[in-house]
Symmetry: C2
Subunit: 365 residues, 2 copies
């Protein structure tokens, strides 16, 4: 195992993203023969006691971490947040009803597009006119008190914006796509009707999607729904209606244990704040770098910034990669740079990027 920690670079990728090194090392140790069972974690039955312990342990750790109330179910699904764009309205939007969507970026738009296949969608607000550089303010929201639910995207990976305070949606169930900032800090689950998240940023490798749903909402899932698209079926079967992605859930369990071991969501919140502040301070320092997001909507997970020219941006990306800082090229719809610094991204990598930015400005400013 002496070679395992060699040659790791700093991976700023937007997702799939960096995982804790100790999680990777644990997964590696157990990969061929999981202790006590004589087979690989890749080979075990999802009906085995070993897997029961893994999935139940994962859920228990998640409940402890986020203080998930007992009247919420945790589901382990497949298909990514993209399939949730469909499953949310299929299950929660009754015939003749309508849902409010808050549009803060490409993912919200995709979510609303799928919802329109199911029923009526009202746009409660959109910041597209400002190139999605911020999330809306409370007084900009046009909310329907009879909406089946309000949909929001808590963090916008592409634009680098994040809600700092939850919108007040009255008694209407709030549904949030938290794929890119789930468990980056404390979350009051009781404020939500449903939370969903693809795992591949803050939870696990790609291949599993978490849904946390208030149990009264399960009654909305019509029996006519296709079985695999029905939340109530997955809840009744403890996410074992069919074969779940065993290995991915196992790694998620290791990540949850890692979060608990290191102090839980309050502790990671402090680290994430510190990491993001270091980068934003550098962006704000001289004017050479320009942040894409407005200050009151800045994301702690995805830090987006531009340089004085596209040529300099190309040079920056290339030289950064050469310096072991990988994945910094921004999404094509925003341009520039994007540093994704999820929970598992090491603070030393942020320090290295800040150092690189200063040096780059000194040479090119």
């Amino acid at each position: 195992m002496a070679t395992t920690t060699t040659a790791r670079i700093f991976n700023f990728s937007a997702g799939p993203a960096v995982l804790p090194l100790e999680v990777l090392e644990q997964a590696q140790r157990d990969l061929v023969s999981y202790p006590g069972i004589g087979m690989s974690i890749l080979e075990i039955s999802h009906r085995s006691k070993t897997f029961d312990e893994i999935i139940q342990g994962c859920e228990a750790d998640m409940r402890t971490l986020a203080n998930i109330p007992p009247n919420y179910k945790v589901l382990f699904l497949q298909g990514g947040a993209s399939l949730q764009f469909s499953m949310v309205p299929m299950n929660l939007l009754p015939a003749g009803g309508s849902a409010d969507y808050i549009i803060t970026g490409a993912w919200s738009q995709k979510a609303a597009k799928e919802a329109r296949r199911v029923g009526a969608v009202k746009v409660a607000a959109s910041t597209e006119g400002e190139k999605f550089t911020r999330v809306p303010r409370q007084n900009e929201l046009t909310l329907d008190p009879n909406a089946a639910f309000v949909h929001m995207t808590s963090n916008n990976t592409i634009f680098g914006t994040e809600w700092h305070d939850l919108p007040d949606v009255g008694g209407v169930p709030l549904v949030s796509d938290m794929s890119s900032d789930i468990f980056s800090g404390p979350v009051d689950v009781s404020k939500f009707g449903l939370i969903y998240a693809g795992a591949q940023k803050n939870l696990a490798p790609a291949g599993v999607t978490i849904v946390i749903i208030r149990d009264d909402l399960l009654q909305r899932s019509a029996p006519s729904l296709h079985t695999m698209l029905n939340y109530a079926v997955h809840a009744e079967n403890q996410s074992l209606y069919n074969t779940p992605p065993v290995f991915t859930i196992y790694v998620m369990r290791l990540v949850m244990a890692w979060l608990l071991k290191h102090g839980g969501l309050r502790a990671i919140d402090a680290v994430n704040t510190r990491k993001a502040e270091k980068l934003y301070a550098e962006i704000d320092r001289s004017g050479f770098y320009r942040g894409h997001a407005q200050k009151d909507s800045r994301s702690r997970m995805n830090v987006t910034f531009r340089l004085p020219s596209e040529d300099l941006e190309k040079t920056f990306a290339k030289e950064a990669t050469g310096a072991g800082l990988d994945g910094l090229k921004g999404h094509r719809s925003v341009g520039g740079m994007r540093a994704s610094i999820y929970n598992a991204f090491p603070e030393a990598g942020v320090d290295a990027l800040v150092e690189f930015m200063r040096e780059f400005e000194r040479k090119n400013g």
Copy 2:
């Protein structure tokens, strides 16, 4: 790495199932730092060159192995065969049309149940009256020449039956759920309109589903379909519409390379035949064991058999587990024993089971 091969037992589980040891060892070596990229395979972007090479290499090996014609697309999806039960009729069954389903077990029944949510289903044949101990004969099939497709299940995991010859369905597209016997021997893909398979028996760990579809059938996917449920969208995007299960596809690539290295589908066919014949010969030897499947429908992947009493079956399962032969308890709907001996199951494990069966009969017969 000295400990990696220790303490492996023989895993007769129906799926997730055993993987080749050399595949596990390779995955273990690369787990923390994939050669040349400085990050784990669990962390790489699905938009990276490394992953392009993996998914394209996997598909290329699959095409070589099964001689997949160029007018067929290979899709890498999520949700298991269970989601395909819905996606097949959603995409292929037009409004007002009907589909023929051949019912040979619990999985066929589930597939037909989901199809009825989409449109008309005609049961072309069912062997339920014979407790699914065989697949139907050609002259028992009632086929509608105007059917949108004919659906079959090539191997019935629970009952231990398998089609030895394909049904003749004329010009109607044949759709086959091959989850439990895909690539267990040569397959003439050109005989099918669509093949689907959950990976966790013969292809990879749980978490990815393969769809091989004749490209003219993609025209049936209506634009009104939900994006993630639309074959045409996945085909247009080379299975990268959203984040695929990166690691699982990587392991599948290793399994495909393993199959090629060991002689391809003809070679594995010979091994699978030999393994199954050893077990069936033992079942037929004395009458102490009774096979569930009729001889002309016996599965080479799942060998189901009963003992003279349920008490003896319990003792058999318990003692077998104690002897390092795990996962032999049959499905509750059939009872008795089930030995799942997929591609990666070692012949030495079959020999050990035959030895154990003889010894058990000697003591209890």
